[in-house]
């Protein structure tokens, strides 16, 4: 199967439009997964390291809770911002993928997010995984800098 060739368009006149928006789809994904994580990080930053450690880590038996709480807060504030801007994209997307994998694991075996299950963190983690594989892509600061992980 040829993964590179796009199928024939039923409405060929749409081709210029598709060509125009194609480079914008990746920043849209980056902005979505990056910015949507900040409302999760901001309250943790506001409640502080100790309270975040208690709320998110100690009750699940994850140690060392306080250093990991600092990591969580940084990933969900600075990390989200960086993924959105496409800055050091691979590093932060990979780190958030690991975070989401741990969160998903701790919600097993329930699936539905209202459970709460692993549905939402798994979806988030998989998209972050894709971002980590692809890197900053179009409209990223990584491209302005000229090198990436």
């Amino acid at each position: 199967m040829d993964a590179q060739n796009e199928p024939r368009l039923l409405f060929p006149r749409l081709k210029p439009f598709y060509d125009w928006v194609a480079p914008l789809t990746w920043p849209l994904i980056r902005l979505t997964v990056g910015l949507m994580i900040i409302p999760h990080g901001w309250p943790k930053l506001m409640m502080g390291v100790g309270a975040t450690a208690q709320m998110a880590l100690v009750k699940r038996g994850i140690a060392p809770a306080e250093p990991l709480a600092v990591v969580l807060i940084i990933l969900e504030t600075v990390g989200g911002l960086c993924v959105a801007l496409g800055l050091f994209t691979r590093f932060f997307a990979a780190a958030i993928t690991i975070e989401m994998a741990v969160i998903a694991y701790h919600h097993l075996p329930k699936f539905g997010w209202t459970g709460p299950g692993y549905e939402y963190p798994m979806m988030w983690g998989l998209i972050m995984f894709a971002v980590a594989l692809r890197g900053g892509g179009p409209w990223s600061l990584d491209r302005k800098i000229g090198w990436q992980l």
Binding site: W42, M47, I145
Partner: protein, 118 residues
């Protein structure tokens, strides 16, 4: 009020993280040259100095983040680092470029005023 203050402090922190990126990673790139109005030759010659300066901006961002994470207990930390921002902005404004007054000192002063009033 507290939320507005915290958001203002976070924005000043993000701004300084932005300065870090500009000075450490974009200094000799087109964006950096345009932002600071430098020539490629000057930028290449001053790359190491700029990278060091950018790193220190990162410490300001980290300090403001630290103050935010401590909540009410972090007020003095926020005041210290915002004070640094205002002084750095005024010093830069008089010695390097007038623009720094608007880009650094003003946002820092607004956030500092909010912290002091809160």
């Amino acid at each position: 009020m507290t939320t507005i203050t915290n958001v203002a402090v976070a924005l000043v922190a993000a701004l300084h993280f932005g300065f870090l990126v500009l000075e450490m990673f974009l200094w000799t790139r087109p964006v950096g040259l345009r932002t600071f109005g430098t020539t490629p030759d000057f930028a290449r010659a001053s790359k190491a100095l700029a990278a060091n300066q950018g790193l220190y901006n990162g410490f300001i961002a980290a300090g403001l983040g630290w103050g935010l994470a401590l909540g009410g207990a972090g007020t003095s930390i926020k005041i210290f680092f915002l004070g640094c921002v205002v002084i750095a902005g005024v010093f830069g404004g008089f010695t390097a470029s007038r623009k720094i007054l608007w880009a650094q000192a003003l946002p820092g002063a607004v956030a500092l005023a909010l912290v002091l009033l809160a």
